[in-house]
């Protein structure tokens, strides 16, 4: 397995919020979904996922409830809250600004 690309500082929150915004998921599914949609480029280490989720929950951006999965297991599902949606919009805008700026810099032709 190739080493996944290091996540830019602070982008993990954005990614988690976005994934959870699509549909309520449990932690395992979140990590799988992230790998899947990014074509295996982005991967969260199993260890750093939980503290990040708990932090978001403590901020009030996501909320957790216990539900039964499709194969009949109990799991903690995270979903986005209204303040979370605003946070997501904010973070997305920030990211786009930053990403745009970075790509402009790297595209400068060398002389």
């Amino acid at each position: 397995m190739s080493k996944p690309a290091d996540l830019v500082q602070g982008t993990l929150d954005l990614l988690l919020l976005k994934i959870v915004a699509l549909e309520p998921l449990h932690a395992w599914a979140i990590s799988q979904r992230l790998k899947q949609v990014s074509g295996d480029v982005l991967q969260v280490s199993d260890g750093s996922l939980y503290p990040a989720l708990h932090k978001l929950e403590q901020e009030g951006w996501i909320k957790a409830e216990w539900k039964v999965t499709e194969n009949g297991r109990r799991a903690k599902f995270y979903s986005l809250t209204r303040p979370g949606r605003r946070a997501l919009e904010r973070e997305t805008a920030n990211w786009e600004r930053l990403a745009g700026a970075i790509s402009q810099v790297v595209r400068l032709s060398e002389v």
Binding site: W28, D46, Q58, G60, K76
Partner: protein, 886 residues
């Protein structure tokens, strides 16, 4: 929106806090689920279950660490740490019980004294009155703009016609009433006794929104002028005189003109004004003599503001009405205006400044206690340097160490607070016992939840105050230095010595401020006690008697009694007077004129005099010197020419350099008849020892009507007066069986006059004493510490031939230096601060040098005593032992 988020966060935190087990379980379950999913995935990829498991666990990189990270995210650790710190603090206290007990005791003294004083302040100044919507109840006073005509009460009351205009013209109050209360003679069943009786106008009970718990209020019929009247009684009177029997309704109370039927009993606790026992409608049983006179300013007024009307609105409306009345009736109302004051404020009056003074003083004591505890903790901080260093070496952050040390202080403070509460409970009882009997709301003083909150608050605050500096100091430890030094030797930081010095100087300075204030008050009180009153209070028995009969018959009682008392063995002189010196409540004042009586409109501007109705012999009985002319005698009867005596103050003011004997004077009391002056008496401080004598006009009781017909008989005895009371009671009962009487002494009455200054002087002296003791302990602590630190040096000095005396001097000099700096700062602060006391001082200036000298001397002695024990210990150091340690 913001609030919502905040709230959600709070609930999450609280959940983490209070449902820790559940949160922990969920965390466990969540990780378990995740790991199982991972295992399934790896198995699907073809690994064996064992391999899959180890891959999954490795991927998560330490389940426990991750859990801890999650907990950190939830900020749960604060609480865990706190619990750990508290447990640790408890252990530390048990390990060092002497230190803990001392610190707790010091804080308990500080916190206890503050709580006790606060419980009084809370009851008297802060707690709302126990009426419905108490802030809408106001008093209306009629104050002259000039000081000239001020009566003993310092305010002018309102006349009935003026009140009627206030009542009819205002739209601010939903109810307004006037009243007048007196101690009156009543008969319940067959016993004649005094009761506090208040005559009230119709809306009185509506002002207080007070309902009877039994029976009813007065009907419209019963309050009509000239009607038969009725009686409402207080709950306390119902209990004490009727045993709480509901059949009290319809029973009558005699003595108030005619037997009045009881129609209602008010709820417990209501006794306005002056713990009234009985209320009846004014102008019913008897008509007020001044009912139609705008000059008859004899009544108090109260009102209840309408809902939504502010005090300012009411005040501006009443000012307008007062101006209108001033224009309409200038002869009575010139220069007068109406003040609308919240009743809570008015009731407290000048007690406020005394209470704030005490609160300030006791706050200073608390500061000193804090400084003291801080020096104790600083001393301990040095001893604990190694412990702190080890903790730091093991990875505790500086913040963490400070937090732990502050937690220990908090624990000390909370124990101190708890013990202080206990002290305060006893202390506030003692305060109630010491407080002047006329302190308003005295009976309401208790430890309630506000007092508890106050105690908790100052305990926590003080723990920060005395704990933070030592904690910060202890946490700035040079690791390698601290660890290098052996466990036995303490690190002697220059910083710590300096910090303790500063604290001791500060507490000494604060103690000096308290001492100066107490000294000034003491000196002032002494002046108050030794002021020439103008009469002899010693060995004067007072018998107040009220004759339940109209004036001629009432006069007969006293005419019969006085010669009988005079004939008793051991009695030097007998007199009787309507108002005793210092008895401001029953004092009458009025304008006086010489030669002819001017028209009425000039009366308010005329100088006024105290008017005293007296019996012959009163001057001798009270010990008032007769300066010229003669005393009244039995010949000054109602059929003889009217005579009067004046005092020297009146002569000085109105007839300087003239001989007043034989002049004609008019004193407006019960009549405006001319009287011939027959004598001049010495001045008496009528309004208590703190106020200058007023002009006074004495008139004989046989020629005038007097107060309701009540006189106080004054009996001057040669020596022992035991049994005299019984003899007088027997004589009175023989003369007339239905006369209630009350005995007291002139000295007891005077003592009530100075009750407030005595109260504040005593308390301030106690606080100052406490402050000095704490400061002394502080100086001692610092000196003892220094001697311990420098024992090697002293040993060396002694070994090199220094005499013990020189070592003692060396140590004492240091203690005195600290005390002197504290003294200098304290005196400077006192000179600035004691100005605030000016209004409480009598014949003493705030910067009285003698007081400051005394304070300085006292403090010097205290510093010497505190320094002596450590100094003599330094002198006894065995040079060999000290050198061996080196």
């Amino acid at each position: 929106m913001l609030d919502w988020r905040w709230f959600r966060r709070l609930t999450l935190r609280l959940r983490t806090l209070f449902q820790r087990n559940r949160v922990e379980r969920e965390l466990e379950e969540e990780f378990q689920f995740y790991i199982e999913q991972r295992i399934e995935l790896e198995i699907a990829k073809g690994l064996s279950p064992e391999e899959a498991r180890s891959v999954a666990l490795r991927a998560i990189d330490g389940v426990e660490q991750r859990k801890e990270e999650c907990r950190d995210m939830r900020r749960m650790n604060y609480v865990d740490d706190l619990m750990r710190d508290l447990r640790y603090a408890g252990r530390a206290m048990r390990r060092n019980p002497g230190f803990a007990a001392l610190a707790v005791l010091i804080m308990a003294l500080g916190v206890g004294a503050n709580t006790a004083v606060f419980s009084v302040v809370n009851a008297v100044l802060l707690r709302p009155l126990s009426y419905r919507n108490p802030d809408r109840i106001v008093t209306l006073t009629n104050r002259p703009t000039t000081d000239e005509a001020t009566t003993g009460l310092g305010i002018r009351l309102v006349s009935i016609p003026n009140f009627q205009d206030w009542h009819d013209q205002n739209s601010s109050c939903e109810a307004m009433a006037y009243y007048r209360g007196d101690e009156e003679a009543v008969t319940v069943g067959s016993t004649a006794e005094y009761a506090q009786v208040t005559r009230v106008s119709p809306e009185f009970f509506r002002v207080f929104a007070v309902e009877p718990i039994l029976g009813r209020r007065f009907t419209a019929e019963e309050v009509k002028p000239g009607s038969g009247g009725a009686l409402v009684i207080s709950y306390a009177y119902w209990q004490s005189h009727f045993g709480g029997d509901p059949r009290v309704l319809g029973q009558t109370v005699g003595g108030l003109g005619r037997p009045l039927p009881i129609v209602g009993v008010l709820r417990p606790g209501f006794g306005f004004p002056d713990k009234t026992d009985l209320w009846y409608p004014i102008n019913t049983v008897f008509r007020e003599p001044t009912a139609n006179s705008r000059g008859g300013q004899n009544y108090f007024a109260v009102g209840r503001l309408k809902a939504g009307v502010s005090l300012e609105q009411a005040q501006s409306e009443m000012t307008l009405i007062a101006r209108r009345l001033e224009r309409q009736y200038p002869e009575f109302n010139i220069g007068e205006t109406v003040f609308v004051t919240r009743m809570r404020v008015e009731m407290v009056g000048d007690v406020r400044s005394t209470l704030y003074l005490l609160l300030g003083a006791v706050g200073v004591v608390l500061l000193i206690a804090c400084a003291n505890t801080a020096t104790l903790l600083l001393g301990k901080a040095t001893a604990r340097t190694r412990e702190v260093a080890i903790r730091a070496a093991l990875g505790a952050s500086r913040k963490r160490v400070v937090r732990q040390l502050v937690t220990e202080s908090l624990m000390l403070a909370l124990f101190g607070g708890a013990l202080g509460l206990l002290l305060a409970y006893c202390g506030s009882k003692a305060l109630v016992g010491l407080a002047p009997a006329d302190l308003p709301r005295l009976s309401e003083i208790r430890v309630d939840r506000w007092v508890l909150a106050f105690t908790l608050g100052i305990s926590v605050l003080t723990s920060l105050l005395f704990g933070l500096v030592p904690a910060l100091y202890a946490a700035t430890v040079d690791l390698s230095e601290a660890l290098k030094q052996g466990g036995r030797r303490m690190v002697s930081g220059v910083g710590i010595v300096r910090a303790r010095g500063v604290l001791v100087v500060a507490e000494t300075a604060l103690a000096v401020v308290l001492l100066s204030a107490a000294g000034l008050l003491l000196k002032s009180f002494e002046a108050l006690e030794s002021v020439a009153l103008g009469f002899q209070p010693k060995k004067a028995l007072i018998m107040k008697a009220t004759v339940p009969a109209p004036i001629p018959a009432a006069r007969q009682f006293f005419e019969d009694m006085l010669p009988q008392i005079r004939a008793l063995p051991g009695v030097l002189a007998v007199g009787a007077t309507m108002a005793l010196p210092g008895q401001i409540g029953s004092m009458a004042t009025g304008p006086y004129f010489f030669n002819h009586l001017p028209p009425q409109r000039e009366w308010p501007a005329a100088p006024s005099a105290v008017i005293s109705v007296v019996a012959p012999g009163t001057f001798r009985a009270l010990g008032i010197p007769l300066k010229s002319g003669r005393d009244f005698n039995d010949g000054d009867g109602s059929d003889k020419p009217l005579v009067a005596a004046v005092n020297e103050a009146l002569v000085r003011k109105s007839l300087p350099g003239e001989n007043p004997i034989g002049r004609t004077v008019f004193c407006l009391f019960d009549s405006a008849q001319p009287m011939t002056i027959i004598g001049v008496a010495g001045d008496v401080r009528e309004r208590g020892p703190a106020r200058e004598p007023m002009p006074e006009c004495y008139i004989p009781y046989r020629q005038h009507a007097f107060n309701g017909p009540t006189l106080s008989i004054v009996v001057r005895t040669a020596g022992d007066r035991s049994g005299l009371e019984e003899t007088l009671r027997r004589l009175a009962n023989k003369t007339s069986p239905t006369v209630p009487m009350k005995f007291t002494t002139m000295e007891a009455m005077l003592s009530e006059n100075v009750a407030t200054p005595r109260f504040r002087t005593l308390l301030l002296a106690v606080f100052a004493g406490l402050a000095v003791c704490l400061a002394m302990a502080g100086i001692y602590g610092v000196m003892a510490y220094t001697v311990g630190q420098r024992s090697n040096e002293f040993g060396l000095r002694i070994a090199l031939g220094a005499s013990t005396n020189s070592v003692v001097r060396l140590v004492l000099r240091q203690g005195l230096a600290l005390a002197c700096i504290g003294l200098a700062l304290g005196l400077a602060a006192s000179v600035a601060g004691t100005r605030l006391l000016k209004s409480m001082l009598f014949e003493v200036q705030p910067n009285d040098p003698l007081v400051y000298v005394a304070v300085a001397v006292l403090l010097g002695v205290v510093a010497l005593v505190a320094g002596y024990v450590p100094a003599s210990r330094a002198a006894k150091i065995d040079p060999l032992a000290a050198l061996r340690q080196e």
